[in-house]
């Protein structure tokens, strides 16, 4: 029988948030790319929460954008409310979050993909990965994929972005359907092929709350949540004026003791507590059942009612994901103020799926044992759209660099949340879906959402995803920041009567001797803006420049200390471990450390030191060994 045989450079399996970024990166770097999806209508689908960003996730979106990705641009085009979170805290934890019009988001991304040169969209279920052995008996090498209908696509690189689709099943109490999210077709065949290639798999679980009919909700019993008056765009390339649109509201309400009673009384009917779900769920995105059990002393939990889009009456019930049976769900939701008469459009459900143990990957997201095979997104055991997109663009860049015969890139923990995310995934034993959090980033003050372009744009430029024009813009921005910081540090204000009067007006201590403008800016009660009257020399500068100037001066001491920590960290990252190392030859390693090191083959001593079960003594032994080896 004849079969379709095509030859491309890269195959991307899955068109969710990881797949879209991966495929776009490859195509934009000039490689012939095909992206497979079980349903073209579900490209960039948001099957759970209707927003992009949020604490630490907003950082990831900015980083994707800095590298030349699409997520930030796409949400800027399709958001219906936007908010900068945590403004009462330091700039490190400020985070942008936007409510999306889900359908618009998906449609808009599909349009981007469809108009991208070198990119083909194909609706098909990939069932098998094709590999060939290296002639010298070395590693396996990816050679293509085969679809359910028998079509073969030869490729030099393949990127797995299978999300939650592998052998997926959805649970709503006792009712189980064998589908992916939103009732979409699951991918039931690829798992076997992965297993046959020796890839280790895990089974994870996640869940989503119910969607309500807007007409059945009494908003008068809830607190209205507005967007910011002045919206900040996600993308560094979006014109800030273009995002000053009319916004929709979200609503806040709370659970109460009655809600919790119903949940407790029906826990035995929850598939998780009844032991039906084998997958491990995320601790940081818990179902309402988990919250009630875990925070037994809390009298109430927040519930956010968020619109799913402008062309639908469906409302998302944030904070109340559940896998309880339909009847319990309804009873439970109806205890919440404003939801007394609610009608459920879609039930809450839990979804279980196969994903890989990401410790089989290099920090480039390429499989250690199979050349040219990459994996990104929820299939690596992460959770969240933003985490997926971030891995997607990295995998896309590296798969392309590999095809182009160029050196692949690694983003380390001091360069971005993306680096933290990937390092955690490929190094640590993650037993539940991994969610990004600001606490995971050690060098958080340097990894702010406001400076993602300064941190990462060059990497995107070098890969070929950032244009010369964008790069020039950034360089000009950096120059302006530096010269303004310099000016403020060297401009001295004397203790003149007018200055003293000004300081008094601002509630600030008068000067004893002359001080620089920078020194004054360090005072908590003063800022760049308020110093204007005593700084007549200043020239108008763009807001994005002033933001950096302000942070750099105000938090200088903290930034310097964090930079010193980074210097320490990098020393160990730079000690590379040769991939041909024979750990059996390192005789003094403890057994557990030896086994882990043999299994996960870290690329650097730094990475080795973060593997659980490898102690500092083992690290010392390893360093001594490497030292000997070099000599």
């Amino acid at each position: 029988m004849d079969q379709i045989r095509e030859k491309v450079d890269v195959c991307v399996i899955g068109a969710g948030h990881a797949g879209c970024e991966a495929a776009l990166a490859c195509a934009r770097m000039g490689l012939e790319t095909v992206i497979f999806t079980v349903s073209v209508d579900s490209i960039a689908l948001m099957p759970c929460n209707p927003n992009i960003g949020g604490s630490s996730k907003g950082h990831l979106v900015r980083e994707v954008d800095a590298l030349g990705g699409e997520m930030g641009k796409n949400i800027d085009k399709t958001f219906i409310q936007s908010k900068m979170l945590n403004l009462s805290k330091g700039p490190a934890v400020h985070s942008l979050r936007a409510q999306a019009d889900k359908a618009e988001y998906s449609r808009s991304m599909r349009k981007v993909l469809e108009s991208q040169e070198h990119l083909i969209i194909k609706q098909a279920e990939v069932c098998e990965l094709l590999t060939e052995e290296e002639p010298d008996g070395g590693k396996k090498r990816i050679s293509g994929v085969k679809t359910f209908t028998g079509a073969v696509y030869e490729a030099r690189a393949v990127i797995l972005c299978t999300g939650t689709y592998l052998r997926a099943r959805c649970l709503c109490g006792e009712a189980i359907t064998y589908t992916g999210p939103n009732g979409l077709q699951a991918a039931n065949h690829l798992t076997d092929s992965l297993k046959a290639l020796g890839i280790g798999l895990r089974r994870f679980k996640t869940g989503t709350p119910a969607r309500m009919d807007k007409r059945s909700i009494d908003f008068s019993k809830m607190e209205e949540q507005f967007g910011d008056e002045r919206v900040v765009p996600f993308s560094f390339s979006t014109d800030p004026e273009s995002v000053q649109i009319e916004q929709d509201s979200c609503w806040l309400t709370y659970t109460n003791e009655r809600t919790h009673e119903i949940i407790r009384a029906n826990l035995d009917r929850s598939p998780i507590y009844a032991g039906i779900i084998e997958g491990t769920g995320p601790r940081y995105c818990p179902s309402i059942e988990d919250k009630v059990v875990k925070f037994a002393d809390k009298e109430r939990h927040q519930v956010f009612i968020e619109p799913e889009g402008r062309h639908t009456g469906e409302m998302y019930v944030g904070g109340m994901s559940s896998s309880l049976p339909e009847d319990v769900q309804l009873a439970m939701y109806r205890t919440v103020p404003g939801l007394e008469n609610c009608r459920i459009v879609r039930n809450a459900y839990a979804i279980e799926y196969d994903c890989i143990d990401a410790r089989q990957l290099f920090p480039t997201l390429e499989f250690k044992e199979i050349e040219g095979l990459y994996s990104a997104g929820q299939s690596n055991g992460s959770s969240g759209y933003e985490e997926a997109a971030a891995q997607g663009i990295l995998a896309g860049i590296n798969a392309s660099l590999k095809c182009l015969g160029r050196e692949q890139i690694v983003i380390d923990r001091s360069e971005g949340y993306l680096g933290v995310l990937v390092d955690d995934l490929v190094t640590k034993d993650n037993t539940e879906p991994y969610r990004m959090m600001t606490s995971r980033a050690e060098y958080r003050l340097l990894l702010r959402q406001d400076n993602a372009d300064i941190r990462l744009r060059r990497k995107g430029y070098e890969a070929g995803l950032i244009t010369q024009e964008q790069m020039d813009h950034l360089n000009r921005k950096i120059e302006m920041i530096q010269s303004e910081v310099q000016r403020l540090r060297s401009t001295s204000v004397g203790a003149s009567a007018s200055t003293q009067a000004f300081l008094e007006r601002m509630g600030s201590v008068p000067l004893k001797t002359a001080a620089t403008l920078a020194e004054l800016m360090c005072r908590p009660e003063l800022s760049y803006e308020t110093l204007a009257p005593i700084d007549p020399e200043r020239k108008p500068l763009p807001a994005e420049v002033l933001e950096q100037v302000e942070i750099e001066i105000k938090y200088q001491g903290y930034i310097e200390r964090q930079q010193r920590q980074v210097v320490q960290y990098r020393k160990m990252e730079k000690k590379m471990i040769p991939q041909d190392i024979d750990y059996d030859d390192v005789s003094s390693l403890r057994l557990e450390a030896r086994q882990k090191l043999k299994l996960f083959r870290p690329i650097s001593v730094g990475q080795a030191s973060r593997i659980s079960g490898v102690t500092p003594a083992d690290v010392a032994v390893l360093l001594v060994y490497l030292e000997h080896r070099e000599r």
Partner: protein, 482 residues
């Protein structure tokens, strides 16, 4: 990696009653078997159980070298976690060397200094603090140092530091979880609470740090700098101390002509003496350098001995010296009491009060009422180096200054390593910075930077945090060689 078997004489090279040759490594037992013979000549050490002692002979072919007891410790239950054999011989430098020679001829190699400890550390038998304590023990110069080394070996430093770390981690974790889950964990009123915790942690660190100065002194000797005008009797003092006690550990001529260094023991205390060039107001280039050096030494000193020629009046040069020794524990020796006095204790104190200090209150207070001050003290003692008078009083003054009040009971934790001190200081500073952030009303997310810094610094003390620099330190300390 450590396939080779090492051997060394484990006891001092003295004509003591018993000496031990220790072997460690994969072939330690094989090697020992090649040189050891049981009385009946049939049994091999290999056949015996671990942790047993055997009587027999060390032989060279048919010749019996010594009658010995051999202790057998099979891995991993030994100091190095390797097979270890200890051969107890009949002492005597000659015999010990002969036995060592035999094991070296039969497959062992001579251990580098500290190599047994290095293996114990690398094999996970002891942690870094313990390893360093062992090294200190080996090098300790006196009884006090020996005691603190033993104590550190038991892990008292590790325990205290680990506990401090655990608390810091707890606070950081709390802040971080609150940042990640503000809905369920509130930071309401937290800064005030943290402030109390920080204060307490800093106090404990301070206590460790105080012990550090003390511990370092006991181990390395009190850094003592002798200053004075030319011909005041500085060198005589040095010679007197060194000669009388017959306890010269090292006698290294200073790298420059301007300083001579000696380690001497005064009662139970080691003094590391630096004899500086005489300080004299001068325009002469070369002498100027000498004076600058003296000032530099004085700055790092734990104790200053200021030798005054009491037979000549005080002058401008003494004023210069006063500048140097300000803020220092100082013992003034009014020397040459064998000559008619031009300076008395009273006139000396008056001179200093009036002339030297341009309003430095602290110094004035000290020189005015030495007995009542707790801080750096100024003692004045009359001596005659020529007649060897006043040395007993001098020794007592040293002892008092460093042991009455400052000496700690043996159960307390004492820091003896400079590296530890440095890390503890860093931890302290970081906590101080965290405290500043709290006081300045910074958002809570800023606290973690300095808290984690303190956490890491303390981790480098216990070896729970493997910093790159730390590893370098291990290399140098354990003589990793090339």
């Amino acid at each position: 990696m450590w396939d080779d078997t090492i051997a060394a004489i484990a006891t001092g090279l003295s004509d003591a009653g018993i000496g031990i040759v220790r072997l460690s490594g994969k072939k330690a037992i094989d090697v020992a078997d090649r040189v050891f013979r049981t009385p009946d000549g049939n049994r091999r050490l290999k056949e015996y159980k671990s942790h047993t002692i055997h009587y027999g002979y060390v032989v060279d072919g048919e010749d019996i070298i010594d009658e010995v007891m051999v202790s057998l410790m099979k891995r991993p239950k030994s100091y190095t976690k390797e097979d270890t054999v200890e051969i107890s011989c009949h002492g005597g430098v000659f015999l010990l060397k002969k036995v060592l020679e035999m094991v070296l001829k039969n497959g062992a190699r001579l251990a580098e200094p500290g190599e047994f400890t290095k293996r114990a550390f690398l094999n996970g038998r002891i942690d870094l603090t313990e390893a360093e304590a062992v090294m200190d023990l080996i090098r300790s110069q006196n009884e006090f140092a020996r005691k603190t080394s033993l104590q550190q070996l038991k892990g008292s430093v590790s325990d205290e530091v680990k506990d401090l770390r655990a608390q810091i981690l707890y606070e950081t974790a709390f802040i971080e979880s609150a940042l990640d889950d503000p809905e369920h964990i509130s930071l309401e009123g937290y800064p005030e609470r943290l402030s109390g915790v920080l204060e307490q942690l800093m106090q404990r660190l301070q206590k460790l740090l105080e012990s550090a100065d003390d511990g370092r002194m006991r181990k390395e000797g009190i850094q003592t700098v002798i200053v004075g005008k030319p011909n005041a009797g500085k060198s005589s003092l040095l010679n007197l101390l060194a000669g009388e006690e017959r306890a010269i550990v090292t006698a290294v001529a200073g790298t420059t002509r301007d300083a001579l260094q000696e380690s001497v023991r005064l009662k139970d205390i080691s003094l590391h003496l630096v004899d500086t060039a005489g300080i004299r107001s001068t325009e002469d280039m070369i002498e100027r350098i000498g004076v600058d050096r003296a000032k530099k030494y004085a700055k790092d000193a734990d104790l200053i001995v200021y030798v005054v020629d009491s037979s000549v009046p005080l002058d401008e040069n003494d004023r210069q010296i006063a500048d140097v020794i300000r803020e220092k524990n100082t013992i003034v020796l009014l020397n040459k009491t064998d000559l008619p006095p031009a300076v008395t204790e009273g006139s000396f104190r008056t001179f200093f009060r009036q002339s030297s200090l341009r309003g430095e209150e602290e110094f004035l207070r000290r020189s005015a009422a030495p007995e009542e001050t707790e801080g750096p003290a100024l003692r004045v003692i009359k001596t005659s180096t020529k007649e060897r008078k006043g040395m007993e009083e001098f020794a007592r003054a040293v002892e008092e200054m460093f042991f009455s009040g400052t000496i700690r009971s043996e159960n307390e934790v004492i820091i003896t390593s400079l590296r530890h001190k440095k890390e503890l200081e860093e931890a302290y500073e970081s906590l101080q910075l965290a405290m500043e952030s709290v006081n300045a009303g910074m958002p809570e997310d800023f606290y973690s930077i300095d808290l984690m810094n303190a956490y890491a610094a303390l981790g480098r003390v216990t070896g729970e945090e493997a910093g790159e620099d730390l590893i370098e330190e291990i290399f140098s300390k354990f003589c990793m060689g090339k």
